[in-house]
Amino acid sequence: MLEFTKSETTEKKDRRDFLKMLGLTIGAAGAVTTFTSATLGATNLNSSKSTLSLIGPDGDLVEVDPAKLQMAEEIVSDSELLREYQRRGREGIPGKKWVMVIDLAKCQNARKCMEACQGAHELRPEQHHINVLRMQDTPDTAPYFMPKPCFHCDNPPCVKVCPVDATFKRQDGIVLIDNLRCIGCRFCVAGCPYSARIFQWSEPDMTEEEKLRTYDVELNVPQRKGTISKCLFSADRLRIGKLPYCVSACPNGVYWFGDKNEDAVTNGTTGETVRFSDLVRDNAGYTMHEEFGTKPQVFYLPAKDRRVPYDEANRMSTQN
């Protein structure tokens, strides 16, 4: 079963150091909270509550005084927060190997995935981290809809060509882009054979206040002018144990998402969890353009029972 936990004990030492840096030490035993819980807890503070339960370094629950946490949050300066975001963003989530399965037979072009994605990553309507394409393989075959995120390739051409390590592959398989590092040469856009990448050609639509938010490399927000953006497998959501934005938003059960190491994927609509290898094998799953040697980590299940009428398809194919 797919179970996301908030605290990874392997990161204990790093976290302790980090929290020490923040001046956040709670209790005589030096019990510390995880970074995420600390910030989340602090923002959700309620004056009626006298203590707050947090997970300690050894997985035990610790009752702490919220006032101390609030104090700690004030100490967390933007630069320290940014440094932590950048560190964990580059490191990834240990022990995981994220994988997505897209069932083309289910897609009805509802486009809820696109909406959710654009909302989360603050994209313009013409900017797509995930794009639902109308596909028709040959003039004689019926068309189908194909959601196309980044494939988070295991041999990513975009990462190879990046001159400054702005785009990188993490241990959990996610290919991320650091908008603070990117020089905007757009070689990765040229290098990606799947057109997964977009560029911020102009200043993103934001208020001055929104611009001042601490940049989160796992969300690519706030977006930066003159840099690349692309699908991140919702790395920020995975960190808090949730499925990606697009996966959760789909009303038609198109997406399965999970951990290849666990060999389990969960359907974003139904919540059903199955074996990844069984799902792909039993349904003749495949990856896109394997001939490029990119080893994509997004798998497709064939578009059986096609829903778009044949004539409609011909009309569309002449449009494009």
Binding site: V161, D165, C182, I183, A190, P193, S195, F199, W201, S202
Partner: protein
């Protein structure tokens, strides 16, 4: 003094005449030359404003979008690298093989190369979304990226080419120091400084010749490198139209064509502007014309390979790209470039009457403009034939028509190259004085230069 040719020419030019002819362009700046450089400066100022606008608004003011992510800026880069390739390769190969005819035009060829490569680097910066982060390249550079290779090799080439332009100029600088007595003070200081106390002793010539020789050998792999690596910026991508194994030699052969054409145009302008008919003679035009035919034939050969082979197979995505070039949207430009910029120049230049200054200059203009457009055709159309269809984007994502800002910045880059070539001639002799003098059989050129002009 080092070994020099015995005077084989029947009409030997007096040494004082050589000094006079070749120093005069430095002494007087003609009115038309002044108008010309004001014109270039205006274009550069205009282009700078366009660039400031681009810095403020982002690359959104260009016509580039996600499916045409590289446009004229990258075309400019490839073009300028191409133009810069031939200068040193031409002089190095000819000098090392003992071929003498190119002596008077060697510095012209080298100057074209230096000026072009300087602005090649700039055209990459112009294309960057975040030029303010250029220090990230040395700071976080990853050697797996061909951009890092390209920056490395282009910078090495730039440094080597400046040295190679300078080294053979040292004796000339000494001549200017001693001969150009009425020069303004700053020029005198400049010549004295740069001449490095050159006296023209045998020992000095021995050192100079050895240094030149080493540089000429070293520049060859670097010169081939700059354009091969530039071709890899495209060829390493799995994209139809770029995914080619012959891109290296294809680019290098194309660079020979563009570079030779640029040198021919520069020869024409300098010859006319500075009355150098006695130095750039019919023989040089004839040889350069033949050279352009030769390199164009090699380029034609690579073009046939590049387009005919995939055109024969017509693999699905290749077919889209090739149809667009051969009969589709890009066809007028493609055939215009191939026919007017390559095939017709080859045919015309085979005939001797066309290997004369004016017709050759016009032909070279067609070749050079064709060369730029060819780079555009290599860079842009490929991107409109991605693996998956282009959908759910606005109309302007589907086409690429360069905007005024892009054109302005492009013109400013070209103007920059021309301005360097214009200003160089006002400071330094465009034809190597000492080499001409040696070939005419004069010894002790440096001693002669010290004698006052009135005694002759």
């Amino acid at each position: 003094m080092a070994e020099v040719n015995s005077p084989s020419l029947t009409e030997r030019k007096p040494l004082s005449q050589i000094f006079k002819d070749l120093i005069n362009p430095i002494k007087t700046v003609s009115f038309s030359s002044k108008v010309w450089d004001r014109f270039l400066i205006l274009i550069i100022i205009w282009g700078t404003f366009a660039y400031i606008h681009q810095l403020q608004s982002g690359l959104g003011i260009t016509a580039m979008r996600d499916y045409s992510t590289w446009g004229v800026y990258i075309s400019n880069f490839v073009f300028l690298v191409a133009v810069s390739l031939v200068g040193f390769l031409l002089t190095a190969i000819l000098k090392l093989t003992g071929i003498k005819w190119a002596t008077p035009i060697s510095r012209i060829a080298e100057l074209v190369a230096v000026a072009a490569v300087m602005f090649a680097g700039l055209s990459i910066i112009v294309d960057m979304g975040r030029p303010d982060r250029i220090h990230h390249i040395p700071l976080h550079g990853r050697f797996s990226s061909p951009i890092v290779w390209d920056i490395t090799v282009v910078n090495i080439y730039l440094i080597m080419s400046v040295i190679m332009l300078y080294l053979p100029m040292i004796p000339d600088l000494a001549i200017l120091r001693d001969r150009y007595t009425d020069a303004p003070g700053w020029k005198k200081k400049l010549y004295t400084l740069l001449a490095l106390d050159w006296k023209g002793t045998d020992e000095q010539y021995k050192l100079l010749n050895r240094a030149n020789r080493i540089m000429m050998i070293l520049i060859m792999p670097v010169a081939l490198g700059i354009h091969t690596v530039t071709s890899w910026l495209f060829a390493v991508n799995s994209r139809t139209g770029w995914d080619s194994t012959i891109f290296g030699p294809y680019f290098v052969s194309g660079a020979f064509v563009a570079g030779t054409a640029a040198v021919i145009i520069a020869m024409y302008v300098y010859q006319r502007a500075y009355k150098l008919d006695a130095y750039i003679t019919g023989k040089h035009w004839d040889m350069m014309g033949k050279l352009l035919v030769l390199v164009s034939l090699v380029y034609l050969y690579f073009n046939i390979n590049e387009f005919l082979v995939p055109g024969y197979k017509m693999k699905k995505l290749d077919a889209e790209h090739i149809r667009a070039l051969f009969v589709g949207h890009e066809a007028p430009l493609f055939w215009g470039v191939q026919i007017l910029g390559m095939i017709i120049p080859i045919i015309l230049l085979i005939f001797k009457p066309f290997r004369k200054p004016l017709p050759m200059m016009i032909i070279a203009l067609f070749v050079l403009v064709g060369g730029w457009l060819k780079r555009f055709l290599i860079v842009v159309p490929t991107q409109f034939h991605p693996t998956f269809p282009i959908q759910n984007v606005p109309e302007n994502f589907m086409v690429y028509h360069p905007t005024l800002a892009e054109i302005s910045i492009t013109l400013a880059l070209i103007a920059g190259v021309l301005l360097i070539m214009t200003w160089f001639v006002r400071l330094f002799p465009i034809i190597p004085i000492w080499e001409i003098a040696h070939e005419e059989g004069y010894h002790q050129v440096e001693e002669e230069a010290k004698k006052p002009e009135s005694t002759e």
